[in-house]
């Protein structure tokens, strides 16, 4: 089984190579077949390996494969080595299966685009790099995948390259994440210096010996890795790039900016949990950053008019939940939410793609409405996705994962009532913005004529994802609803189990009840404010203060403004005033002085005899004077 590991990323890489080198000469159906087929095969292979993994677990709970040396110099050795354990298996399955569904959807969505083969080559490259990221056995190879997905994100956000705005969004994404990546890289230097290796299992075992818990070194390493995670996963303060990343085609938003790449930070922290456990300060910071992010992004989602930007802020907010869980030590709860989020958020983005395509690329929700009857299948699947995102009880996947996070945060010593409260308010905000979106798009009066209806290749992924977004949660049932916990058990070979966080049945019911109350409040409020719109609401929304708050939220709390003033403008100013390189002035100065002396002295030889005579006379007087008056 181990020998097959490399084939999982190799298939999409092969697809990339074929499409990049020959794609422009291939007919579209061939491009579609190669592009989605390579990922489909990779998904089948992952499922095959998963079956083997579950039926006869390998020794050490992992398959490993070493393909050869990568970098070896001066005592440092880094290999192309892959490792598939329960955590990477989960990630690989999501990447390939959800990835395949999105590829299939895209074969129809991008049908008329001139860059058809370029699109699928980038998308395949992304899947390959993402698989390297999760299968890497050492952090340097992980970093290769990490930067690789960043590149693909850049290329795909700016896919429609003719519009400079898309290019700006793409660069913003790449540079913001690279700031985090640079912190990550310095963390790697620190690890190499102190442990002499970047092999993940070795780090986990050596770190606890070399770094005392809470020591400055442990804190520094964990904080630097966290920097990388914050950039990639769009958490405070590096979240600014994700809303703009919506400039890319919608399948890209679904695949990269919802289901897979943006959760790489969550994966990194879970993967390196041994280091974070040695730095409790940093782990606590993870929880606080997660809570703040989920609140700020949830509030910002309320004031967006662009359908995709609502979903983008929602993604930031939901990843905030994952960070909250990681920080509270609820490792498997974070990964569980990653799984359900991948289903329902991909579903919502793909639904949004249908809606946008159906109305001549209209993304403004206030110009939509009444699409319930026009696009029934999209409506029902979107409804399922929304219910799952809002974590409505019992038949949605999101309910089980979010409930698990809230319960674990309450019960964990790394959590507490304040963090739980943050999560609870977040649940209210989530329901509010989700149903606002649902009401604005699908209910009310119809405003735009639907011109394009989805075909089979777009509808099939919607249906499959809707099923997964409903039943995907049954992998882990809370204590009061059957206490069925195979997911936690499955990840138990990699991550510390969370079964230790025990609460009494009455507390669990109470926590559950609190969540349901705020959700109901959210739905009712959304209904009153955005669907019924009574006179009181009209009056309120005309209020100046409300208008100002709405503006602040719509800009995502003004972070862009702040960064522009503090970072971007000073940099632009310096590079502008120093365009001609001030250091060169020094050398120009030297040559000017030389020229000046030259012109001064050359006057002494301008050929005028009377000057010469005067010079001789003066010189004679001077010399005589010296001789006489010495």
């Amino acid at each position: 089984m181990s020998e097959l590991l490399a084939l999982i990323p190799a298939l999409p890489f092969a697809g990339f190579l074929i499409l990049a080198l020959a794609g422009r000469r291939l007919p579209r159906p061939a491009v579609a077949a190669i592009g989605s087929g390579s990922v489909g095969l990779s998904a089948l292979l992952s499922m095959f390996i998963a079956a083997a993994f579950l039926t006869s677990p390998p020794s050490g709970q992992a398959y490993t494969q070493t393909l050869g040396t990568w970098i070896s110099a001066g005592g440092l050795d880094f290999a192309f080595s892959l490792r598939l354990d329960a955590l990477s298996l989960l990630m690989a399955l999501v990447i390939t299966v959800v990835g395949f569904l999105i590829h299939l959807y895209a074969t129809e969505y991008m049908q008329d685009d001139e860059g058809y083969s370029r699109f699928f080559s980038y998308l395949n490259l992304f899947i390959g790099a993402m698989l390297i990221l999760v299968l890497a056995d050492n952090l340097l190879l992980l970093y290769l995948g990490w930067e690789g997905v960043g590149l693909c994100s850049y290329l795909l956000i700016g896919f429609w390259y003719r519009d400079p705005a898309n290019g700006r969004a793409a660069r913003k994404a790449f540079i913001s994440t690279r700031i985090g990546d640079t912190a990550f890289a310095v963390g790697l230097f620190l690890l190499v210096t102190n442990l002499g290796t970047l092999d993940i299992p070795v780090i986990a075992s050596l770190a606890s010996q070399r770094f005392p818990a809470g020591s400055p070194l442990a804190v520094a390493v964990a904080a630097l890795l966290l920097g990388g995670a914050l950039g990639k996963s769009a958490q405070l303060p590096l979240q600014v790039w994700l809303p703009d990343a919506m400039a890319g085609p919608t399948p890209v938003s679904a695949l990269i900016h919802a289901a897979t790449m943006v959760t790489a930070g969550v994966y990194l922290i879970a993967r390196m949990h041994a280091l974070f456990l040695l730095a409790p300060v940093v782990q606590h910071a993870v929880a606080i950053i997660g809570a703040l992010t989920l609140l700020l992004a949830g509030a910002a989602a309320l004031a967006q008019w662009d359908l995709k930007r609502v979903l983008a802020y929602s993604t930031i907010s939901q990843i905030g939940y994952m960070f909250l869980a990681l920080g509270a030590g609820a490792w498997s709860a974070a990964m569980f939410h990653f799984l359900t989020h991948a289903f329902f958020k991909a579903l919502l983005f793909l639904g949004a793609g249908v809606i946008i395509n159906a109305q001549h690329h209209e993304q403004d929700m206030y110009r939509m409405g009444g699409l319930r009857r026009e696009l029934p299948l999209t409506f029902w699947t979107f409804l399922i996705g929304s219910a799952s995102l809002s974590a409505l009880p019992f038949v949605t996947a999101g309910f089980y994962s979010k409930d698990l996070i809230l319960r674990d945060v309450w019960a964990s010593p790394g959590g507490g009532v304040w963090l739980w409260l943050g999560g609870l308010v977040g649940a209210f905000l989530t329901t509010l913005y989700t149903f606002r979106m649902l009401f604005l798009v699908f209910f009310g009066e119809r405003r735009i004529v639907v011109t394009k209806r989805p075909g089979l290749r777009m509808e099939l992924p919607l249906v499959v994802l809707a099923v997964l977004a409903s039943v995907g949660g049954f992998l882990e049932l809370p204590g009061v609803l059957g206490n069925f916990r195979p997911f936690d058990l499955f990840l138990g070979s990699v991550l510390p189990t969370t079964a230790v966080f025990k609460e009494s049945t009455s507390t669990e019911w109470l926590l559950l009840g609190a969540t349901e109350v705020v959700q109901a409040a959210g739905i009712v409020l959304a209904f009153v404010v955005w669907l019924r719109r009574g006179p009181f609401i009209e009056m309120l929304s005309a209020n100046v203060l409300v208008e100002k708050i709405r503006y602040l939220l719509s800009t995502g709390w003004g972070f862009d403004f702040l960064y522009e003033k503090l970072l971007i403008n000073p940099f632009l100013w310096i590079s502008r005033v120093n365009r001609n390189d001030v250091i060169d002035d020094l050398y120009t100065g030297i040559s000017r002085v030389a020229y000046g002396l030259n012109s001064l002295l050359s006057r002494a030889q301008d050929g005028r005899v009377r000057w010469y005579a005067a010079g001789i006379g003066l010189g004679a007087v001077f010399l005589l004077g010296r001789a006489i008056f010495r």
């Binding site: 990049a20 422009r24 040396t69 990568w70 970098i71 070896s72 110099a73 001066g74 005592g75 440092l76 340097l140 970093y143 290769l144 930067e147 690789g148 590149l151 850049y154 700016g158 390259y161 003719r162 400079p164 290019g167 700006r168 793409a170 660069r171 790449f174 540079i175 690279r178 700031i179 990546d181 640079t182 890289a185 310095v186 790697l188 230097f189 620190l190 190499v192 210096t193 940099f571 310096i574 590079s575 502008r576 120093n578 365009r579 390189d581 250091i583 060169d584 020094l586 050398y587």
Partner: protein, 492 residues
């Protein structure tokens, strides 16, 4: 003898290309290609040779030259020389190919200069006699002056003067240092010699050692270049013809780096160790300063030139880190930068040939007009920003990780250069390849141009995934360098 032939073949081919090229321009081009191909075959045979056990030298040649003054024709190659000699031949071939259409005047004399520069560079990489080294150092200077002065762009005359004066000033300081080192050695032992192996044993006092070391450092710092001695570079690179820029960036800068690794550190280990913190600070300054100034440029060629300043900072940092990993990284950076920046200069040259401008304000949207050119341009921009998978990443990672123990602060500051590299590289991608088409049409690459750029792209990717190709033959020399030098111990 192979070592001598490597230098002699282009030295003879140069006048031949000039003489036979009078009637037929393409004859001198073919002569140059042939000479470099012969050198390529010669160097391939060296790759097959393993160093003798206990030594890092793969091949060595000692002939008498001026025995009265202790000057010998002492040539030798270890892994370091081998890698750089190979880079010289590859980029030499690339520069002949990329000048095929660009150079139409005085073609014979152009190729004469080109071949003599290459011969000088090969000599620099192979000499183990300090006097001989100095001769080759000057040999590459004068033909390069002509290359810029005759075939350059608008401000070629001023740029060529500036190039000559800067390099010559550094070179004279080095000559003083060479002479004083030899005379101290003569006073100590009674033997007048310029031989590397013998001079290495000279014992100088700390102050004298630092002074003599700084003389060498001055020459190499100008060539590398180290900020603030870099201002000849943007002018020279921008004004030179494409082949000149490729050779300047790809090879001439590397002679400075080579000098640091071959002479400054082994000859003056203690002084180098004392100087290392200052060198690391200069390196960090250069990395950031070059990147910021690069971002501000409108002239695409000038932008690429300033990125060289930034990239060479990594070489300086790695050279003075005292660890084999960092020094291997520095050499890797020389190769990676030689390929990626050389390729970028070729692309700028192709654009200038087609558009008659280097101003980025007048470019844009080339992806829709010339997809092959743009895709390759994107590849080299990504290499230049140090994306993993390209050789540049291997180099920067080894330099930074290897220098971290010795120069923690400088490495942490330099790491910001990784962000700035993305900032300027993506600006190029946006301004040139993305956006709306700025011109009605742009011919895509022809077969010759595609061949050159595609081969360079494959090379930089291949070295990024299989860097062992360079790191492995390099390792005896680098291990010897970091172990024999007291540098590592002193820094720690």
């Amino acid at each position: 003898m192979i070592l001598l032939w490597l230098i002699i073949v282009p030295l003879i081919a140069g006048p031949a290309a000039w003489a036979f090229g009078r009637g037929a321009n393409s004859l001198s081009r073919w002569i140059s290609l042939l000479a470099l191909a012969v050198d390529g075959v010669l160097v391939l045979s060296l790759w097959q040779t393993a160093p003798a056990p206990g030594s890092s030298w793969i091949a060595e040649l000692r002939l008498a030259w001026i025995p009265q003054l202790g000057i010998g024709l002492h040539l030798a190659a270890d892994g370091l020389s081998l890698v750089l000699v190979s880079l010289t031949i590859v980029l030499g071939l690339a520069s002949v190919l990329c000048s095929w259409k660009e150079i139409g005047e005085r073609v014979g004399f152009f190729h004469f200069n080109l071949l003599w520069i290459l011969s000088g560079i090969l000599g620099v990489f192979l000499s183990l006699d300090l006097f001989l080294f100095y001769v080759f150092w000057e040999l590459m200077l004068i033909p390069m002056y002509f290359l810029i002065n005759i075939w350059g762009h608008e401000n070629r005359v001023a740029a060529s003067y500036k190039f000559f004066l800067f390099t010559q000033a550094g070179g004279l300081l080095m000559l003083l240092s060479i002479l004083s080192l030899a005379s101290v050695h003569q006073a100590e032992t009674g033997i007048l010699t310029f031989d590397y192996a013998l001079l290495k044993t000279t014992s100088l006092g700390p102050a004298a050692s630092l002074l003599v070391m700084l003389g060498f450092f001055a020459a190499f710092a100008v060539k590398l270049p180290v900020v603030p001695f870099h201002t000849w570079l943007p002018d020279a690179h921008t004004e030179a013809p494409t082949a000149g820029s490729v050779i300047l960036a790809g090879l001439l800068l590397k002679t400075g780096a080579y000098g640091l690794l071959r002479f400054v550190i082994p000859l003056f280990p203690a002084a180098s160790a004392a100087f290392a913190p200052a060198a690391a600070a200069l390196a960090a300054l250069g990395i950031l300063y070059g990147a910021v100034v690069a971002f501000g440029q409108r002239d695409l060629k000038r932008l690429v030139a300033y990125t060289s300043v930034s990239h060479m900072g990594f070489v300086l940092l790695g050279a003075f880190a005292g660890s084999a990993a960092a020094q291997s990284g520095a050499v890797m950076q020389m190769v990676a930068h030689g390929i990626s920046t050389g390729a970028l200069f070729i692309i700028v040259g192709l654009l200038q040939e087609r558009l008659h401008t280097r101003d980025m304000e007048r470019m844009g949207g080339f992806w829709s007009l010339a997809p092959r050119l743009s895709a390759l341009g994107l590849v080299f921009c990504l290499a230049s920003l140090g994306l993993p998978g390209f050789a540049n990443f291997v180099a920067e990672f080894l330099v930074l990780a290897g220098s971290f123990p010795a120069h923690t602060a400088a490495v942490s500051v330099s790491a910001a250069g990784l962000v700035l590299a993305a900032v300027y590289s993506l600006r190029v991608v946006q301004r040139v390849f993305h956006g709306t088409a700025a011109v009605p049409m742009l011919p895509d690459l022809d077969a010759r141009e595609t061949l050159v750029l595609a081969l360079l792209a494959v090379a930089i990717l291949w070295l990024g995934l299989q860097p062992g190709l360079i790191l492995h033959p390099l390792s005896p020399a680098m291990d010897g360098l970091s172990a024999s030098g007291v540098l590592a111990g002193l820094i720690k």
